[in-house]
Symmetry: C2
Subunit: 329 residues, 2 copies
């Protein structure tokens, strides 16, 4: 996507005018319906909504080239949350099935602007399930997404028509590709990708465009992800995790998996990813005491809205957008 | 309230254990029901849910002695939101009735810990209504709170019983005291309060304890509040704003009012409160273009939970508490 950065800065500065347009109103109504549908679905499945943290002494380190934000919290260096994953592991020991609308800040490199799907500030519907496998939460994710698409088609027909969006309600189960299958598919399309690395943004977009319905990629290699994605005890180097990708080139929707939950294993993984365990005080203490195994995922609300509405630029899918590199309201 | 700070720090550090207690589970279930009830009520009233900002170039300056958090946003000084009030004025021009679950950080002075109702990080259900008066949003607030209390009593009977909480469902309309009446009442109780200042925390708690049901205090003096609370054009120096207080000593529940929306008046108010208008670029540009008059309020979710559950310490009313002055998970 080609972006005129100067023009975009001007456009975002005047969001107070654009937000009043019939187009933005239609998009925001779809977003409202999607939020409502997500929560209704999860309550129906027995989930409890909790309040997500905003800041904390430590946050998710596995954020692919983006920078965390550090603040001064009464003399202590705190982070603005880039993901509440560590906190979900705490909560799931209490309530078994939890979700939250979690605020995240990730200062993506300015070039991420060009993907049309990266924001520096975004919200996830984050959930976690005690003693679930990654395939079980994939089952949950596909039913959830199907439910949301059906609700939005049903209740936002006018908005979708105005936006020119013919939204499909995907059938379940969704297609599930292993990471190896996905990389092989991309190699067949001329992408030069080594096994063991994260699938690059342009390749992911290409892969996404090869499908008409959402699909999973699972079993990422250990070398591509953070310390908390659980390594399969029977298949060294392979994580019991997954992404859900939207079709039509919209790319990543969901990232999730089973979690490492044993103290010694987490320490070992931290050593490999170069994390300093001393920064993870409460988290490691908690693991030492023992927590329940769990699996879960996060679904970005702005990306979901972008897909539902069929708009190419993610800054159209949020009322007050923060795009990488550009200061805006 | 007397607090052993050292003991509290230790206690909060081990929240991963306490969160599994039957008491915390009961409180978190009540919170979940309250969130669900709030949204159901507002959707029934025609509100649209929007995504709240997390950071931005400017945030609510009217936060009574608390410090804002500044971050480096691609070389620009940004704030973590302490209130999304300015953004609600933007959104209400588009969607007429909006609400959001908004994340707020306010570094309260460490002595605020002793009130038992201040957090350094909290969440509000923020709402705004185009062309409403402050008495209309007070009507809305009381129906909403009544609805939430009834739902929680109805669906969380077991949790309330476990917590030993006999929650009243308040009748509407709630009592409405003007600021002058409230100050006079407090003077009669021996509090030495000048007209024109914010009601101090200890006096507010005392006032709150004089009632059995929630009640409003309205018409605060201009000298006590931020630049965005609208001054009554017919009664100079008096704001068309209000607080809702919980009874039984639980104190402030809601803060709201009509908004200043005219460029010249806001500039004049900023001059008086000592704000630098240059920091408010997009906001003042927006006012120059013209916005719709509106009224709204924010209700703190943790304080609501504290009241519903009848727990004295606000850090019991949130899964991952941040209390003033103490670093914790």
């Amino acid at each position: 996507m080609r972006i005129d950065e100067r023009g975009l800065e001007e456009e975002l500065y005047r969001r107070y005018l654009e937000i009043r347009s019939p187009r933005m109103r239609a998009i925001l109504r779809v977003q409202d319906e999607a939020l409502s549908a997500l929560r209704d679905f999860l309550r129906g499945e027995g989930f409890v909504e909790i309040l997500a943290p905003i800041i904390g002494p430590v946050t998710d380190p596995g954020i692919r080239g983006a920078k965390q934000v550090t603040i001064d919290y009464y003399g202590h260096p705190f982070k603005v949350m880039s993901s509440m994953i560590l906190y979900k592991q705490m909560a799931v020991c209490s309530l078994r099935k939890v979700f939250a609308l979690s605020p995240n800040v990730r200062l993506e490199p300015p070039e991420a602007l060009k993907t049309g799907r990266h924001l520096a500030e975004f919200r996830q519907l984050d959930l976690e399930v005690a003693e679930a496998t990654y395939h079980e939460v994939m089952d949950l994710a596909e039913r959830m997404l199907r439910y949301v698409c059906a609700r939005v088609r049903d209740r936002c027909g006018e908005e979708l028509e105005f936006l020119g969006r013919d939204l499909r309600v995907p059938a379940v189960p969704f297609k599930r590709l292993s990471y190896r299958e996905a990389v092989d598919l991309l190699r067949g399309e001329g992408f030069d990708i080594d096994y063991g690395v994260e699938i690059p943004w342009d390749a992911e977009e290409h892969l996404s465009a090869m499908f008409d319905d959402p699909f999973f990629v699972y079993d990422y290699p250990k070398t591509a992800r953070g310390f908390y994605d659980r390594e399969d005890p029977e298949r060294k180097g392979i994580l019991r995790d997954f992404d859900l990708l939207y079709p039509e080139g919209f790319g990543e929707a969901i990232s999730g998996g089973e979690r490492e939950y044993e103290y010694e294993r987490v320490l070992e993984r931290m050593r490999r990813t170069g994390e300093d365990p001393r920064a993870y005080g409460w988290y490691l203490e908690m693991l030492k005491e023992g927590i329940v195994p769990s699996a879960g995922f996060g679904i970005g609300i702005e990306r979901l809205t972008r897909y539902l509405c069929g708009v190419p630029k993610i800054w159209e899918a949020v009322p007050f957008p923060k795009v990488p590199g550009i200061p805006s309201p």
